[in-house]
């Protein structure tokens, strides 16, 4: 009895504390759901409630089963991976197809590229997106340009690089980065970011099977905290197609990955407190991105907010803003707002200040409407 009340007290204190300081609240049942059409018509036996890493695990198993040339490799993947995305795969498919590499990102990427050009579906893992930079040369100079410079004789379409990215609340400089902009600046690559477990499995399978090299960035914050029903079978969600998570009429809000959940809260609060109806868009594929879905929405609402964790300068928000003002200039009622990380290295103790949290986004929505 005493213990129970103590727990209740602790939880309510925590909640108040978090709300006061605007820390993102991630409940176990997230505000937003993945694409419903993917589960429509499936009965209970074909679905399972999964979190993000389980969904990715399921997607990888489907990929290995359906493609005998597919193999998964990276640091520590054999025992299951530091985020458990590869649990049980070695037992199921054997050590020749799921294996550990030494610690050498540049070598891993180069090896993966060579394998992909010679008929093996290479699913390489970079343990954290923060460590992808030694491999940057291989990815940008070799993978992205193989098809172009060989006049379509060779390509590394069979290459997929999976990497966890994004803030976790305590990651600091080198376990929280969002390097999507560097790769979105490279023609020849595709950059894909899922926002829910259902989305993750479908987008992962589409990325692996896409005949172009894909950098697939998994929001590590959501590995455990995002939970929903996911089909057990094989399905894909198309690349370069965004989705409207929630329709609205006053402001278009664009995001991806974990940030989408923050935006969902902000959008909900905006509706409750300010009666502002926001249209929330999940881009899913960051490059090449679905321009039309954003343009259509902005032509309707006249206002746009883009939000991402990565630093604001030269982040993807800049590209989206530039394109929208090129195509929808006369429809805009207010300047396009970007609610992003500051231009600092991802801080450790100052993460709460740095982060583009729910309150900052709510404020942006208000300001946009009041312009």
């Amino acid at each position: 009895m005493l213990r129970r009340s103590a727990t209740l007290l602790k939880t309510s204190c925590l909640r108040r504390f978090s709300v006061q300081h605007g820390i993102r609240q991630m409940s176990s049942n997230t505000e937003i759901e993945g694409d419903k059409s993917v589960v429509d018509g499936l009965d209970k036996a074909e679905l399972e409630t999964m979190n993000l890493f389980t969904a990715i695990n399921s997607g990888l198993a489907v990929a290995l089963e359906s493609d005998p040339t597919a193999c998964i490799f990276g640091e520590d993947v054999a025992f299951g991976g530091v985020f458990r995305c590869t649990m049980g795969l070695k037992d199921k498919f054997g050590g020749k197809r799921v294996f550990n590499t030494p610690l050498c990102e540049q070598g891993i990427a180069g090896l993966a590229i060579g394998m992909a050009t010679n008929g093996v579906t290479a699913i390489a893992e970079m343990q954290f997106a923060d460590y992808i930079f030694p491999a940057f040369d291989q990815i940008v100079n070799e993978a992205a340009k193989y098809r172009y410079r060989s006049g379509n004789q060779f390509d590394c379409g069979r290459l997929t690089i999976r990497t966890p990215y994004g803030a976790v609340g305590h990651g600091g400089l080198y376990h929280s980065q969002s390097p999507e902009a560097y790769f979105a600046h490279t023609p020849g690559l595709k950059v894909v970011v899922p926002s829910t477990p259902r989305e993750a499995k479908g987008l992962l399978l589409a990325s692996i099977r896409d005949p172009n090299p894909v950098v697939y960035m998994e929001p590590k914050w959501l590995y455990r905290s995002a939970v929903e029903t996911v089909p057990l079978g094989d399905y894909e969600i198309p690349l370069s197609k965004g989705r409207i998570v929630q329709s609205g009429s006053d402001v278009t809000v664009v995001g991806w990955g974990a940030q989408l959940h923050v935006l969902a809260e902000a959008v909900k609060k905006a509706k409750e407190e300010q009666q502002i109806s926001c249209e929330l868009i999940d881009l899913r594929t960051l490059y090449p991105w679905d321009e039309e879905i954003v343009f259509e929405s902005v032509r309707k609402t006249g206002r746009l907010i883009v939000s991402h964790e990565a630093p604001v300068t030269c982040g993807l928000g800049a590209e989206i803003s530039a394109r929208v003002q090129e195509e929808c200039f006369l429809h805009l009622e207010a300047p396009i707002r970007r609610v992003c990380g500051y231009d600092t290295p991802f801080p450790l103790v100052f993460e709460k200040l740095y982060y583009p949290d729910m309150l900052k986004n709510l404020e942006a929505v208000k300001d946009t409407v009041d312009f």
Partner: protein, 413 residues
């Protein structure tokens, strides 16, 4: 002022010659067949191959290979034939003429950008590829014209590619540094120094994974040999026993820096550490072939191996480099006079009475004519369609922003 570094070749040769007790004069061919010994200079060399004897010629290895953690080939005798020797001559001469033609085109400003020539190193490419199977994979750096010629390229398609013309090997989109040959397992042609090494290991990984029995030859230079990713690759290749042959074309200089200034250990064949290695005289096409045969067998059955080919380039690193600011003209001339692979082979052929000087001249004339014809044809070849600018970025055609502003682009006339 650059240190007058006498090429590493000579140091190695004198050491090896002392060690192996070889004669200082060029090795003499030993003709097995008595009939062959009586062949006159007037007999056509093409008919010779059909004579009664087996036509086999044994060449003793000129300079012994230095080995590291492996035994090296057991036999010091290299079997060959008149046909093969003349083929080698023709091919090496063709590579040389191709490079000379490229040089001319560059000076006429019909080739722009960067051009890296292979003059002096012909024996390495020709010898190595002669020892490999057609289905083995080849990947190299940017000094790749010879490799392309041996794997799917023709004078016409290579020269077109250098000029950016549509019939080029890579549709005009790669240029000198990106010649590829998908039907001949030739993975290029790579500009980024050292980047092709882990990629090559990946290709050999796929060969092992799919059980094709093939090997991959991964070539890079002495400058690239200090790149970190190469050691990452050695490590992975060794633990997984990949069928990969790492070949260092050591021409003594990484761009303008001599190996003694760039490498703490200039014995590159030792740098694989636990990966076995061999050091080979890269100016002797038969020595190269001999070593490569051993290496192919080793890689197919045991695991990775490193070959260091001691060679030399007469030209600069690229067309922008005169090649004289970091070495003396004397040094270049000396190598050209004493070690030139084409002259060495010509010597062997003439001394062994396998062809007359006239027959050799005839081969050279044919090659020259073919290259000149191809050159003329390539100069007149069409430019690629402008749409090629934005094709092959992805498999599918995607909208490319602002491409309408590229419509006023005209290739240089």
């Amino acid at each position: 002022a650059p240190v007058g570094l006498w090429p590493h070749l000579f140091t190695m040769f004198s050491t090896l010659r002392l060690a192996s007790g070889a004669l200082s004069s060029p090795a003499r061919c030993v003709l097995r067949s008595a009939v062959a010994a009586q062949c006159t200079s007037l007999r056509s060399f093409a008919k010779k191959a059909k004579s009664e004897d087996n036509g086999e010629i044994i060449i003793p290895l000129d300079s012994a290979h230095l080995t590291h953690r492996c035994d090296g080939p057991t036999s010091k005798d290299i079997p060959t034939s008149q046909e093969e020797m003349l083929k080698f001559y023709e091919t090496m001469y063709a590579v040389r003429r191709l490079e000379v033609a490229s040089d001319t085109l560059y000076k006429q400003r019909l080739i722009r950008g960067f051009l890296h020539l292979y003059n002096g190193q012909e024996a390495v490419a020709v010898g190595m590829l002669a020892a490999m199977k057609e289905t083995d994979a080849v990947i190299t750096a940017y000094r790749d014209h010879a490799f392309s010629l041996l794997r799917g390229g023709t004078y016409y398609t290579i020269l077109s590619e250098l000029m950016g013309k549509a019939p080029g090997v890579s549709k005009g989109k790669g240029g000198s540094m990106h010649l590829f040959g998908v039907d001949h397992h030739f993975y290029g042609g790579n500009a980024i120094v050292g980047a092709q090494v882990p990629v090559g290991a990946g290709i050999s990984f796929a060969q092992k994974y799919e059980g094709t029995g093939g090997v991959t030859m991964v070539a890079y230079g002495d400058g690239a040999a200090n790149q970190g990713q190469i050691f990452e690759t050695f490590n992975m290749a060794y633990i997984w026993k990949l069928p990969c042959i790492f070949v260092i074309e050591n021409n003594g200089y990484g761009m303008g820096t001599s190996i003694s200034r760039a490498a703490s250990n200039t014995d590159f064949f030792l740098r694989g550490d636990f990966v076995p290695g061999m050091k080979v005289d890269g100016m002797d096409v038969f020595g190269v072939k001999h070593a490569m045969e051993y290496a192919c067998d080793f890689a197919r059955n045991q695991g990775p191996i490193v070959l260091e080919m001691m060679t030399y380039r007469y030209v600069g690193h690229s067309m922008s480099d005169p090649g004289t600011t970091y070495r003396t003209r004397e040094e270049v001339d000396n190598v050209r006079k004493k070690q030139d692979p084409i002259e060495r082979l010509k010597d062997r052929i003439l001394k062994g009475n396998l062809a007359t000087a006239d027959e050799i001249k005839a081969i050279e004339k044919t090659v020259k004519k073919d290259v000149d014809d191809a050159l003329r044809k390539a100069k007149a070849a069409p430019w690629p369609d402008m749409e090629e600018l934005y094709h092959d970025i992805y498999e599918e055609t995607v909208p490319v922003r602002h491409v309408e502003r590229a419509n006023n682009f005209y290739p240089p006339q």
